[in-house]
Amino acid sequence: MRVAISTTNGGLDDRVSDVFGRTMSFTIVDIENGEIRGVEVVKNEFAMRGGGAGIAVSQLLADKGVDVVVTGNVGPNAMSILSSAGIRVYRCSGLKVRDAIERLVRGELEEIRSPGRPMGRGRRWLG
């Protein structure tokens, strides 16, 4: 299972950030049988760019073969792309990445099924 966690500097000791599209980085963790097998930090190039950050980030994570996203909030556009790509989203913020993964593995994180408030201008559900 590949898990992408929204973070600031990235890494297992960083904390899960509240924002998705505008988060500074993603810490991508590979998990097998409940064990962490690999950690990759991806800088979010879209954090400071113009509109559509959530969309661009969803595309990036889909391309990276991510199965699960852990973050604070996800807007409507990003949410619909993530679910189209078959990526599940779990809510968590403020926790250390390491602890968030532990809770995810134990099935203790809440799954986000409906989007939060849109951040940007591209508010639309995919038809």
Binding site: I55, S58, N77, S84, R121, G122, R124
Partner: protein
Amino acid sequence: MARIAVASGKGGTGKTTIAVNLAYFNRIDLFDLDVEEPNCHIFIRGKGKEEVVYRKVPSVDKSKCDYCGICRDVCEYHAIVVLKDAIYVMHELCHSCGACSYFCPKGAIEEVDRPIGRVVEVQSEIKLTYGVLNVGEATPIPVIKHVKRRIGRDAIIDCPPGVSCPMVESVRDCDYCILVCEPTPFSYHDLKLAMDALDKLGIPYGVLINKNGLPFNIEEKIDAEIVGRIPFDRKIAESYSKGELLHNYAETFREIYEVIKCR
């Protein structure tokens, strides 16, 4: 003889009041480019002739698309998402640049018309032309451009507030710009931004002080010509709130136009 834009920086300083009365009392065509919330038509009333405004957005023929992702890569605005076996277009983010259809190697993308607003023309004592952007649309620029095509040689142009793309597009082809301000620190701050923008665009401008008499001396702080002053007068606000023109100040608006005409 001149296309005169009325802009401000800060909202609520009186752009519409100035534009409407300036146009009316000098019998000049009026154009409302504040297409996100046009309101000149509250003052210049009449039956309108409407035309729908469209803009181009991509439409994907899924039988030809092989999900290669080139359209997504060339889209500067993240308006296209390509997954392994699906493609989505986010119309609100699209800027109608056409790059996706141009670069698609399979010829799977066609540009189609999407209605985004309308242009309305009202013939009253003067002619008013205004644009209306549909609710939910992200960019007003295409509607502004459509209204601008109808501007002749003489015009008073009511611009959107701020100094971002909609304002820049509205003032761009003008001969002169009136910056309406009020004597408040907030208005002074935004006026400087607007002056800066017009300096960079190379458009000559003058400042009109509305609500003159409020206790903040904006006049001594700005280095620009003052083309007029409208007093801080409760009667003006009362007329405005009823959608009436400022007949008591007709002469003032004629004088302001005389001053600007000579520029």
